[in-house]
């Protein structure tokens, strides 16, 4: 097993690398700096928790890592590509390839079944494959609920469909925004175990959370305050690497 600190000094291993990233928004009140001069990297196979109070810049950071936004200044490399150099269309394509989203509110399309919700990610990525989508649902323990609509699933089940959807295109990064924020304790445990399994299988997980228990599962914590990254202590070794 390699030590994370060692890996951080090897840019070729970084699946996410920020170099002086600043994101500013112009509004009526003038320019608001949501993220300021952030520099850090996340290596392949790492599980990182992003924490911080409301308004600290977590969402901005997630938008940037999720390729939903681009930095005002600085460089952001995802899987070796500077996202600032991509056009909006290229960024859409890139996002579908590189990032699997897990949302706090699940965000399943209400009129599509669990299976179709998973296939929707395939549809926007490349081509649909029903067999593979069923396998993804089985992987999260929902093979028997494939034809059910989201309204017929519990919160925990909906989150597992969301995880299956995030995994279906084999993205190098899983971006989980408060993945257990809307779940009861039992379902929280199921989802936490699922994320642990995915990490054990080598997935890179970037997780925004307020929950100290969930944050403790990550190897590293990146804390944000007033748009600044102020600490990222290493809490453990990288379990495995995908590359």
């Amino acid at each position: 097993m390699e030590n994370l600190t060692d890996l951080e000094t090897r840019p070729d291993c970084a699946v996410i690398a920020l170099n002086g990233v600043t994101r500013e928004y112009s509004g009526r009140a003038g320019v608001v700096r949501a993220l300021e001069d952030a520099s850090f990297s996340i290596v392949a196979g790492e599980w990182v928790a992003i924490t911080g109070p409301s308004g600290s810049g977590k969402s901005t950071l997630v938008n940037l890592i999720g390729c939903l936004d681009r930095p005002t200044r600085g460089e952001l490399f995802i899987d070796g590509v500077n996202t600032a150099s991509l056009s909006p269309t290229e960024l859409d394509r890139f996002r579908a390839d590189k990032v699997g989203f897990i949302f706090q509110q699940f965000h399943l399309i209400p009129y599509l079944s669990a299976l179709e919700n998973v296939m929707l990610a395939q549809y926007f990525h490349s081509m649909t494959d029903e067999k593979e989508a069923r396998a993804a649902l089985e992987r999260v323990g929902l093979g028997h609920r494939a034809e059910h609509l989201p309204s017929e699933l519990s919160g925990g089940e909906q989150q597992r469909v969301c995880i299956a959807r995030a995994l279906i295109n084999h993205p190098p990064i899983l971006l989980a925004d408060e993945p257990t924020g809307n779940l009861d304790a039992a379902n929280q445990k199921i989802v936490a175990e699922l994320l642990q399994n995915l990490h054990a299988q080598g997935h890179t997980i970037v997780m925004v959370t307020h929950d100290p228990e969930m944050a403790a599962l990550a190897q590293r914590r990146i804390a944000l305050s007033h748009g600044k990254v102020f600490c990222h202590p290493v809490s453990g070794p990288v379990v495995s690497l995908r590359k």
Binding site: H107, I109, M119, F124, H125, T128
Partner: protein
Amino acid sequence: MSRMSMSAILFRSLIHRRARCLSALIALTVSAAVATALLTLYADLDSKLHREFRSFGANIVITAADTSKGLPADALTQVHAAAGADAQAAEFAYAVATTDRGTPVVVAGTDFDAVKKLNSSWQADAWPAGSEAANAALLGQRAAQFVADEHNVQLTFSGHPITLHGVGRLHTGGDEDSRIYLPLAALTAWTGAAPSVIEVQVPGDARKIEATIARLQQVMPSTKVEPVRQLVEGESRIVDKTHALMYGAVLLIALTVAVSVLATLSASVLERRRDFALMKALGGSQTTLMLLFLLEALTLALGGVVAGYVLGSAAALAISQLNFHTATLPRLGVLPLVLLLNLVIATLASFFPVRVLRGLEPAALLKGE
């Protein structure tokens, strides 16, 4: 259809939001139905109105240029040849006779069959027909009061008496009510008066009537051919105004429907901002999402055209039967215009929602902000 395709997403989305979609579909059906009904009636309007105007009688009057010479002997034949097969014409000869009560009255000789066709609005108790027609008389309702016996009409012209068989009264509301009509041959034999006026009814608009007048004047230079100005100009004005009214109605309804559809589609996008944001987060391009939305609007527009065409054609048929007493059959020719109208409405109504779509920020929306 593949299990997951744009059409599958579209179909499921429409079914899922059926109340909202139904509201847009009804609005688009109304616009298509109104457009179909008005355009179907519009296409048939000229002939319908011209037919209505024909009941008002002649729109051309031919008299001798030199009143002392009278009309040429073959004038009616020339009129029929020059005015066309669809024209109606009747010749009239006039004299002033005295009734058995000693009242002077205008007597007019004519061909009853031709007059009946020419003036369909004339109301007669009975029209002379068969063998009795040679000696029959039709009494204007005022003229009838000047004779002692309406069935046995006794008249005198320059000392020459004649007894006619009165078949009924005539009601026109005009000068005809003061006249007594009898067969032209009988009048000519009795008074020696020759036809001095030919009334002609030409179907068509003012241009066609003017052209017919020019033709008639050319073939009968010794006559004076004049339009019944009030009727010709009135008909033209009414037809033009009716056209403008129908265009205006279609435009007004299209605008009303566009506002209604705009509201429905805007609400539809605002309701589903998160769904669209999710699709964007999953890699859906701006173009794909807009295409998905526009396809939805256009599907509703097409559905509206199908339902609206059927309803509009039925409405046109009913309106036509009610007002013109003839059926206006569905016209496939109006379909492209109705389709175009609905597509324009749907596209215009999509502008604002598409702007909303373009401005979607998935991160904020999916975060619940």
